[in-house]
Amino acid sequence: MREAEAGLKQRVPEAEVFEHNPRRLYIRIPRERLTEAAKFLHRERGMRLAICTGIDTREGFEVLYHFSEDTTGTMYTLKVLAPKDDPRVDSQAPWFPAADWIEREMHELLGIDFPGHPNMIPLLTSDTDWDKSKYPLRRDYERRNEAHEQ
């Protein structure tokens, strides 16, 4: 087993690792253990945060943290799930500047909360002409078709 995998399982025994291929690992962990796992991968294993992805799925809001182990060319993706009625994941921004902007983006496009974020203001959407209660990347967002006027 890879060193990083072993170290992670030691700290977070509930981690479930799925290996899509030798360079792509997807690790499901409970959302309470995210900060610990992320700090381990970045600080102790020297992995770089490539980006985070937020997905609205049937089971809840999935947030993926994609870490790249550049020395081996392997991607370790941490997956946490937040229930639909409590879309909340601890912010990593206080200790990790690389996570700052993407958490703001996931908040404004998906409506996921990141308690602890130092500057949770919208990143991309208009300040004057946008309904902040609408989340475009959620599955229930009403898409317009071509004929629909502004």
């Binding site: 959407t125 208009s126 004057t128 002409d129 609408k134 475009p136 967002y141 071509e146 502004q150």
Partner: protein, 138 residues
């Protein structure tokens, strides 16, 4: 007696470039018009730094919500008569981005457009031709 403003505009159009939510490809092709290969400055076309000096606005990009008020402001500041020349397929009809939650274009819903130059991006030769055609209609 012909309007002297139009005469000045036709002889040496000064252009101001406005990009609102563009992918920058059309914008780079516009800048390439200034480089030695195409060199539009020999036709008197000058890229100016302020809309107040402009005769023509070269607009690019998919107009989005945040950019729209700024683009309208730029149009207000441009002394009339002025041409609005839409460069790129995105400006003419939004195309790929028409269903986006952030797209409010195309430009002719908000501004009076004098010429449409489609292309993704339009080749510099097409842009020069488009500007010449727009000017010849004056």
């Amino acid at each position: 007696m012909k309007d002297p403003r139009i005469w000045g505009l036709k002889k040496s159009p000064w252009v101001y470039h406005v990009a609102a939510a563009a992918c920058n490809n059309c914008d780079i092709e516009i800048l390439e018009l200034l480089t030695p290969r195409y060199d539009v400055e020999r036709f008197g076309v000058v890229l100016v730094g302020s809309p107040r000096h402009a005769d023509a606005l070269l607009v690019t990009g998919v107009l989005n919500r945040k950019s729209l008020p700024r683009v309208l402001e730029v149009y207000e500041q441009t002394p009339k008569p002025c041409l609005v020349i839409c460069i790129g397929t995105c400006t003419c009809g939004n195309q790929l981005f028409r269903n986006s939650y952030n797209a409010v274009g195309p430009y002719d819903r908000h501004l009076p457009v004098s010429a449409y130059i489609p292309g993704c991006p339009p080749k510099p030769e097409a842009m020069i031709l488009g500007v010449v055609k727009a000017l010849s209609k004056l």
